[in-house]
């Protein structure tokens, strides 16, 4: 894939110039819902915590998200879904990552997600789900503990 080639080039340039690579996180809004307050707050909080954050903007298809994740060479994808489409859209992204041999990119998420759906999502490969009331610090800590910098 073209995306893989871009990744290799970028990593080598970081190794030369910076020495230490920051964690790169794609914050994504899949589906049709426009509720981006949470996604933007998370994006900002992760950036303030020293990560490189790419925000996709709204109304992304799973294909667009996976393509952006590979192009941008991210370590993880954080998705926010408020529309109730989580049982469709999270698994769609994970399957596409597997199909693109990019399953090392971890997927976590949040939004309006009933407790009963969380085990289903985890079983499908979502690494963590943050529900309303989770603090941005909880999410930063979880990323620092669970997302290895892949360089």
């Amino acid at each position: 894939m073209g995306g893989r080639l871009v990744r290799t080039l970028r990593i080598s340039s970081w190794e030369c110039d910076v020495g230490e690579r920051k964690l790169r996180i794609l914050v994504a809004k899949p589906g049709l819902d426009g509720h981006d307050r949470g996604a933007k707050i998370i994006a900002r909080a992760l950036r303030d915590a020293g990560m490189e954050v790419i925000y996709t903007g709204l109304h992304q298809t799973p294909e667009m998200i996976v393509s952006a994740a590979i192009q941008e060479d991210v370590d993880a994808i954080g998705m926010s879904i408020m529309s109730g489409a989580h049982l469709t859209l999270f698994p769609a992204v994970i399957e596409l990552l597997r199909a693109q041999k990019a399953a090392d990119i971890k997927v976590f998420g949040g939004g309006i997600i009933p407790d009963g759906d969380i085990p289903v999502l985890k079983q499908k490969g979502v690494s963590a789900i943050f529900t309303p009331g989770a603090s941005t610090q909880d999410i930063v800590s979880w990323i620092n503990q669970n997302i290895p910098n892949r360089v």
Partner: protein, 595 residues
């Protein structure tokens, strides 16, 4: 952003120094020095100052020495400083600014008698699953005493996609009722006489399609459009600012809105063609002042566009309506409703030369703040909603939706909706607040907050005028960035414990409350796709193609879009097909990923 902060800061200091600094409370670092200086030379001495000074030195000072205030300074959620004691001296408005209910500038209410003659409309927003599911909920709500219907549409309908579009995967019927064709509307309103109810429809980018479907269903019931009462939200500017459900870019979107206002002005005298909405702006993170300012700026934008179209202000302005959020800060919310009416009245009279008092009255729907509900200890949401609903009523709303306690998890169950409706009925029939007009008028504090809210909102409106008007400001993402800042600040306050939210960062409970939730399954999507296929197989394709060609011609020209869209939906053209014409002519809108 930086500019606006620079503008508001000195102002804040000024107010603190003139008013509350005299209360001899410790002030935050940096402000204290300036405030002391200002307090040392009182410029104007309002009439009660002597008494207030005496109280401050003889009574307040010693009391504070024994027991200081819990915080160095208090402000409203919008950051308006709250004095140690509000007095008549804090008011900056005149008696004429206050006026009488039912008269300019309508600060005290749009009706002379308010709820003494007619209670507010109890309008519960409902929509989920298939049109038949929602029709059943509508009938339940009517049986329980709601006095107006309010329709929530699903995300595909709001974004102009049919149920079978690839973008609709997993979304059909989830956040509202699924609608693709007139057939769905026929099922949605089956058995509900459309000349007996008023209906509100929360739909914007594809509002023109929904309104035409409603007109077509009514016609089938034998009800002419002139008799239809209700509201279609149709406020596109706030979509770009906050709710973010769009099809095409702002300018063509506003053109469609103006087409609808023009058409309704001529043919639907009882219909509100736009509900200028602060709700979504607030939910996206705006403060009360920002909600007020950006919403009124949107209203000004529509009036300007209608006037450019050649419409006379007094012909269309009486049909404009508004929609506020009601959040937690009780007095600030009441003040917001009052300030909103005054600003709008003055704007319509002074800026647009309106002569008809109805053009100057700001009539509003209100909804309690969804964003204030917590997933933790969800029964507390009933209490939050009650307080917010009471603020809306004391603020003089015309219509109200109360949120259900389970809405941080899912769309509400029937039981949860019933408690929400009962909350309004309790306020209306048991609390006694319905018996008096504008009961908080004359409260030193509420009048002070009303004046301050008005001033601060007007500052924002001036800033937007300087940017070249609201459409330009939206294109430059000015309101969007201001709201983003406020949302981030709020989150930080919560996380730092400066702001306590019961059950979330204080008074936490170990055990989870089990909740029964409404689930929407795949059946809905499958049923909708099947019905869509059936409709497409049965319709006259030649008629559909011809009607859609007329829609395209109107988009490319200047003819009003309502007649060709009405013809198209009557021929069973789908919501997605009409929206595709818009996308073809004007291009699909995309927002950059700025955060």
């Amino acid at each position: 952003m930086a500019r606006s902060r620079a503008r508001s800061k000195p102002k804040k200091v000024k107010v603190v120094s003139r008013k509350s600094a005299r209360a001899a409370k410790p002030l935050p670092k940096g402000k204290a020095a300036k405030s002391k200086r200002a307090a040392a030379k009182p410029a104007k001495a309002p009439k009660v100052d002597a008494g207030l000074r005496r109280w401050e030195s003889q009574t307040l000072g010693p009391a504070l020495a024994k027991l200081p205030t819990r915080r160095p300074a208090f402000t409203t959620d919008s950051g308006i400083p709250i004095p140690a004691l509000a007095t008549a001296a804090h008011r900056t408005s005149t008696e004429a600014d206050l006026g009488f209910p039912g008269e300019y500038p309508f600060t005290r209410g749009v009706q002379p008698t308010m709820y003494r003659s007619r209670l507010w409309t109890m309008r519960q927003f409902a929509g989920f699953g298939t049109p038949a599911d929602t029709n059943k909920r509508f009938k339940y709500l009517i049986s329980q005493g709601v006095t107006g219907l309010s329709t929530a549409f699903d995300m595909p309908a709001l974004m102009g996609y049919d149920a079978d579009h690839s973008m609709s995967r997993g979304e059909v019927g989830k956040e509202g009722v699924a609608i693709s064709t007139l057939k769905d509307f026929e099922i949605l309103f089956e058995g509900i006489a459309l000349d007996q109810v008023t209906t509100s429809m929360t739909i914007n980018a594809s509002a023109i399609v929904a309104l035409c479907m409603y007109i077509a269903v009514a016609e089938k019931q034998g009800v002419p459009m002139a008799k239809l009462g209700g509201t279609i939200q149709n406020d596109m500017l706030k979509e770009y600012i906050a709710q973010k459900e769009w099809i095409v870019p702002p300018r063509p979107a506003v053109r469609i809105v103006v087409d609808m206002i023009e058409y309704c002005t001529k043919h639907m005298p009882k219909w509100h063609p736009v509900s200028i909405s602060g709700y979504h702006i607030r939910e996206a993170g705006a403060t009360a002042v920002q909600e007020l300012a950006f919403t009124l700026a949107d209203g000004i934008g529509y009036v300007e566009e209608c006037v450019k179209r050649g419409l006379k202000v007094d012909d269309f302005a009486p049909r404009l309506s508004f929609f506020w959020d009601v959040h937690n800060d009780f007095f600030e919310e009441v003040a917001k409703f009052r300030a909103a009416r005054r600003i709008w009245a003055k704007t319509m009279k002074e800026r647009f030369g309106a002569k008809d008092p109805r053009s100057m009255t700001l009539r509003t729907h209100a909804q309690t703040a969804g964003v204030s509900l917590t997933a933790q200890q969800p029964y507390n949401n009933v209490v939050r909603t009650s307080l917010q609903a009471l603020a809306a009523v004391l603020g003089g709303t015309q219509s109200l939706h109360t949120n259900s306690l389970d809405e941080t998890y899912a769309l509400p169950t029937e039981d949860a909706v019933t408690i929400a409706l009962r909350t309004q009925q309790l306020i209306a029939h048991e609390s006694g607040v319905d018996r008096v007009v504008d009961p908080l008028a004359g409260s030193y504090f509420v009048e002070y907050l009303t004046d301050e809210t008005e001033k601060r909102a007007n500052d924002y409106i001036r800033r937007i005028d300087e940017l070249g008007g609201i459409i330009r400001a939206v294109e430059e993402q000015y309101p969007q960035k201001e709201i983003g800042e406020s949302a981030y600040r709020f989150q930080r306050e919560v996380e730092q414990g400066d702001r306590l939210i019961v059950g979330v960062n204080a008074f936490k409970a170990d055990k989870q409350t089990p909740m029964e939730l409404l689930h929407i399954d795949e059946r809905v999507q499958n049923e909708q796709i099947d019905r869509l296929k059936q409709v497409k197989a049965q319709r006259d394709q030649t008629k559909v193609d011809a009607a859609l060609a007329k829609v395209e011609a109107a988009c490319r020209g200047t003819d009003n879009l309502m007649p060709p869209v009405l013809e198209a939906v009557k021929a069973y053209a789908t919501l997605g097909e009409v929206s595709d014409v818009f996308r073809k002519v004007w291009g699909a809108y995309r927002e950059g990923g700025v955060f």
